[in-house]
């Protein structure tokens, strides 16, 4: 089916249209990654992979990452290509929908932010701030599959 999945983030369970998001990203991945000329830096994986995050911290860091992509990344990814822009819109609106669902659980205090997730997210922001905003946004968008793989 459209691949709605129930993802577990600590005590939070959120139904997400992962297949729709992956389809949208796969359609523009090559185009987006071709725009990223800085190969020596990763936003999400430097210095440590997301996979190193404790499961108890999963919910909090996912909550932070949804906010990060929605508040900071997508708006700086506008391109001259209408098709790419439509797919980015599709992903952005899906992220907005997911951010809202996870936000509800976060508000019910079931999404505890530990030391590790706070440190990890600070590192991600530091990596992001190293670059100019458009390069940082494009690189972050190009790394979306890293986030999707980790979430699933």
């Amino acid at each position: 089916t459209a691949g709605n999945k129930i993802l577990h983030f600590g005590a939070c369970r959120v139904s997400m249209s992962m297949a729709e998001i992956r389809a949208g990203f796969t359609a523009i991945k090559a185009n987006i990654q071709a725009r990223d000329s800085i190969r020596t830096l990763s936003i999400l994986s430097y210095p440590h992979s997301l996979h190193k995050v404790n499961s108890s911290d999963r919910c909090c860091i996912t909550h932070h990452l949804f906010n990060f992509y929605v508040d900071k990344v997508f708006k700086h990814c506008r391109t001259e290509d209408s098709y790419v822009n439509r797919k980015i819109s599709s992903i952005a609106n899906s992220f907005l929908s997911m951010k809202r669902k996870l936000g509800q659980c976060h508000e019910q205090n079931q999404c505890v932010c530990g030391q590790e997730s706070t440190e990890k997210f600070k590192q991600i922001l530091a990596n992001y701030e190293e670059l100019n905003v458009t390069s940082a946004a494009m690189k972050s968008l190009g790394e979306l599959d890293i986030l999707l793989d980790w979430m699933e």
Binding site: A2, E20, V70, S82, R86, S94, F95, S97
Partner: protein
Amino acid sequence: EEALPPAPQNISILSTNMKHILTWSPVIIQGETVRYSVEFQGEYERVYANESWIPISECSLITATLCNITEDISATVAYNLRVRADLGARRSEWGTLKGFFNRNTTSLTPPVMKVIADGYHLLVELEDMGPAFQFRVLYWKKGQERRMQQKVVKEVSSVVHLDTMEAGAEYCVKAQSYVEAINRSSSFSQTQCVRAQGDTSMWL
């Protein structure tokens, strides 16, 4: 100076089974060909991206008065849609859909279904309604409605095996479609009943 064409009116969306079609009334200008262009705006664009609009290239400068927006309405959030008319170099104001559109308002119909008795096997064929759809199939031996059974079908393959039937007995089936992305179901289809081969006297 030549007048601008009027903005398109009666803009609405026909949405059935997660297929969304935008339609509008034609702008009639005698002896002229009017062309239309469509743009959409998701909640993300409205709230986080300066209320920007995104053109749908398949529906840019078209003469038809409808546009399939299914592929762009790909999240369960509120969308805005607008259409404008072009007459040569002259361009109308935008006509905008009244209110927002959210795909969770799509109307869902029960699946087309064919029930088959293949010897003692109760089978059902279900319509492929697209990747967003799952199906809930209920089946029972006629007269034993309280022992109704259920099967959830997530991927539509050719035929679904429901049960092995008792000889000569009649079995009934009904089904509804379900879309997980919007967490909604259709009504149930008509019930269809079939009879297994052999005669009931075998069990007496």
